[in-house]
Symmetry: C2
Subunit: 533 residues, 2 copies
């Protein structure tokens, strides 16, 4: 979606007083830096910024890195992404390569800039086959890509730095000329203006910093205070759009927004049980199988490129095919990998040692799980954990409505336990199950086209949404991934001849993956079935 449309939507009639915000990031220099940035970004995006932008890394590899970061932001983090693009050292072919790449990746927003002079020079030079200024770039984007892109341009409240003189001011003529140029960029098709930084450094700030300058913590706190006060002034003048140059720092940015009352940790909202995609091609998507609930990135990567994403009903899209499993679905950020090894890769002597791991994870005593990409259990899981079978979650969706969930559990078990479960299901017709082993031997008491909605929401003046389903076809796709995690997510951390490793391989080979739904979400009690199990 174009950033201008999001801003207009947010500031429309119903939300006249609402202030929106956005975050700017730059491409880190190291691989670890990139992973750290994404970890931070996940947490920051949970507060629902209007968009995030990533600056343009001029030059070969950095340019490719920017494209890759932008792709992940839009498709995996699922935040509306604006990519900077500059004319520095960019012949038109490179410009088009960048624009075509992000277009293909479902990104719709570009910040069109002239860019700084190349390193070691102090003046911007137009290269052969390149553009002289942002205006050229805006014109090129509109001419070659029509209305596809939302285009932002830079605005200079104090005139462009190059025309600011030694007294810190531009002449009135230079200022007017700068403003006229901005108008030409807008006339050429820009729809959003992001302003350059604008602030003084009055002496009282220097004075305040002097006594605390060796206390990093105190300097940070003062910075947050200063930032908060500046934002308050800006908002008091009627501006409803704050853009934070985060310098890839999470805490200061969030602290300022918290001080301003724009975000609140306890009020992080989830319009759906999973983060709604921003990729242009999947904005209408609103139904997913529950199996990947703890592995949303794996799900996105395996469903990328679908011609149509399920909207309203899952059944209509049941012919869609999943991408094959690749290494990609088993990769983890380094920090989580480390934590996972600490928690899970310990000597395993007997089957109960394995059960214990799952139990501790469910009780929140372990932070990680080989089967989850997430930092902790979803809030729904917590509620089920407390054995509330009939649930009215306040966990997701807009205000004033009701959300529901059929009690759902998924687990591995041995064939004899499965047989006992099948008998119990016969006695209780509200229970439906799917069970399959690694080889694909399937047992079930539902039809192969019986798609079961397991979460749904009813909101004022809205159609019913049913973001999560149990779908037998998807379950058979999921089982390959779920069984593969025994080896690639866990056993592989042990030496080849380790007995713990053999034990895990044994479980992988002999267990069944079971998906169990209690369809009586009003009077049912899913846990009753496990009594005396």
């Amino acid at each position: 979606m174009k950033v201008i449309e999001k801003i207009l939507e947010s500031t429309a009639a119903g939300d006249a007083g609402k202030v929106v915000f956005s975050f700017e990031f730059f491409p880190p220099k190291t691989e670890d830096g990139v992973e750290n940035l994404f970890e931070r970004m996940e947490r920051m995006v949970a507060h629902d910024p209007t968009f995030c932008d990533i600056t343009w890394g001029a030059g070969g590899t950095t340019a490719e890195l920017t494209l890759e970061i932008a792709r992940r932001m839009q498709n995996m983090v699922c935040v509306e992404t604006m990519m900077h693009l500059t004319c520095t050292n960019m012949p038109v072919e490179k410009i088009d390569h960048a624009l075509e790449t992000i277009k293909k990746d479902g990104i719709q927003n570009v910040l069109a800039l002239r860019g700084d002079p190349p390193r070691g020079q102090d003046k911007f030079v137009q290269i052969q086959g390149g553009f002289a200024c942002a205006l050229d770039l805006v014109e090129h984007i509109r001419k070659s890509y029509g209305d596809y892109f939302g285009i932002a341009v830079a605005g200079y409240p104090e005139a462009h730095p190059e025309v600011i003189e030694s007294n810190g001011l531009a002449t009135p003529e230079a200022y007017e000329k700068d403003l006229a140029y901005l108008k030409r960029k807008v006339d050429a098709g820009a729809d959003v203006i992001v302003t350059q930084l604008f602030y003084d450094i009055p002496s009282e700030i220097t004075a305040a910093l002097e006594p605390i300058k060796d206390n990093e913590e105190a300097v940070r706190a003062y910075g947050v205070h200063l930032g908060t006060e500046m934002c308050k002034k800006i908002m008091a003048s009627g501006i409803k759009t704050l853009h934070l140059y985060t310098l890839n720092m999470e805490k200061s940015a969030l602290a300022i927004l918290t001080n301003l009352g724009l975000i609140e940790e306890s009020k992080i909202s989830r319009p759906l049980p999973w983060r709604r995609p921003t990729n242009l091609f999947r904005v209408k998507e609103d139904v997913r199988p529950i199996f990947w609930a703890n592995r949303p990135k794996s799900y996105i990567s395996r469903t990328i490129g679908w011609e149509q994403y399920p909207h309203g009903r899952w059944g209509d899209s049941s012919n869609a095919s999943y991408g094959a499993l690749t290494d990609h679905q088993f990769m983890r950020p380094r920090a989580r990998d480390k934590k996972l090894q600490e928690e899970w890769v310990v000597p395993l002597k007997k089957f109960d040692d394995i059960s214990e791991k799952f139990m501790k994870y469910c009780l929140g005593q372990l932070k990680t799980s080989p089967w989850s990409e997430l930092d902790a259990l979803q809030p729904e899981t917590k509620i089920i954990d407390e054995q509330l079978a009939s649930i009215n979650l306040k966990g997701w969706g807009p205000a004033g409505g009701y959300v529901y969930q059929k009690a759902y559990v998924e687990f591995f078990c041995y064939e004899e336990k499965l047989k006992a479960l099948v008998e119990k299901c016969k006695a209780n017709p509200s229970l439906t199950f799917l069970a399959v082993n690694k080889e694909g031997n399937l047992l079930s008491n539902v039809g192969k086209n019986d798609v079961n909605a397991v979460t749904w929401g009813v909101f004022p003046a809205k159609e019913i949404i049913q973001p999560t389903v149990v779908d037998p076809s998807s379950f058979l796709i999921w089982k390959d991934e779920a069984f593969e995690i025994w080896s690639r997510g866990w056993a592989q951390f042990y030496p080849e001849d380790d007995s713990s490793r053999s034990l895990l391989q044994e479980v992988q080979k002999t267990s069944y993956l079971v998906s169990l739904v209690d369809n009586d979400y009003v009077n049912g009690n899913l846990f009753a079935v496990f009594k005396g199990f």
Copy 2:
């Protein structure tokens, strides 16, 4: 859907013991007869026959009448329809005209027959450019229309009447030949065989009838008894498909099925709040605006020919355009028209006389309403009538699930009442409304794209269904029809200069049509808003 598919579905694993039934009708000779037939058919179809068939009226106008009846059966009554088609006096162009007509009308089933000899002749004669036998017709249908049609053919348990000799029997050779011919029809593409009548008239029946022959009631009752016993014998032999030649009679057919335990008046089921369409083009349709809830035929006629019917979500089809209002939407069967005039076309002296009519209708004291095509209020309305704002209907949908309804009222009122209502809605954010007068002046507290699901159902191992919505765009289409009913459904029955007529025209000109939803279906109380109104 093809009849064979419906039969296979009904007799599949889960329903192994289920006996299905169907009804045969013939084209009545008079216009009144046709209307009576449709009234009966509505009631009979409520018992969910697998299909109904209509015999072929050979010759000019009767042929057109058959086509028209078949069209109305499939599209308005919404029963799976099979049309008979015979070769008698039918050159291939006429055959194709008939087949193309029903194909266009979304009918998928044909009973292919040779037909009786033309009137006044005792032998069938193949006409120039026509077919000699049913086999020719089956071959032609498969050749020209591929797999589109389900084709039924006639089977003769006692051989074809033309080879039955004076002793009431066919020779074994004639019987074998007849059976071989049946096989050829099946090999040529027929997928269902409907048998000819087969029964003896033993002397005990004649004896039983003799003493009651002047008592019409007793003869009927004996007929029902006989029919029941014959069906029991047939069923005992393992046959699970009964086809009733109703001779357009409702009571005997339903009495036999009731005796057999195949139907039960109190168990008439509704898979959706409205009857699911059978027209091939709209079988996936499962969402409709609530406004036409009491005028389903008008709704069908105004939405006929849509390229896609809403499935799962209404919002996806919101660009669909409604057909213009024609005389068609204001036509009523003669019997209902008469009843309506008795109940509604009385002298009206003041506005309260009009309000009283609506009130009596809501209380069930009037059977008809100019705004309804139906015989009585829907069961949902009854529940609301008893002021249960939070409702768990058992009215529709399969077993083992839950259905919900947001409290909904639609009414006409004057501007001052509307203003009071708007104020009350401001105080109670769970209420959403749409109000519009004849000129199109719209007041509302929802967005123009805010589609509101007002009925929905949650069933085991199924996706959520939401068959009824309130859609602002459709409301504006509906208002023209709703206001037009003041004149064409009511006022027009009075003489031109009658003061009752002027009063109705005045109300039409000055009132607002209001649609009101209480979105809090759990704790709301829609009626509270009308206290002290």
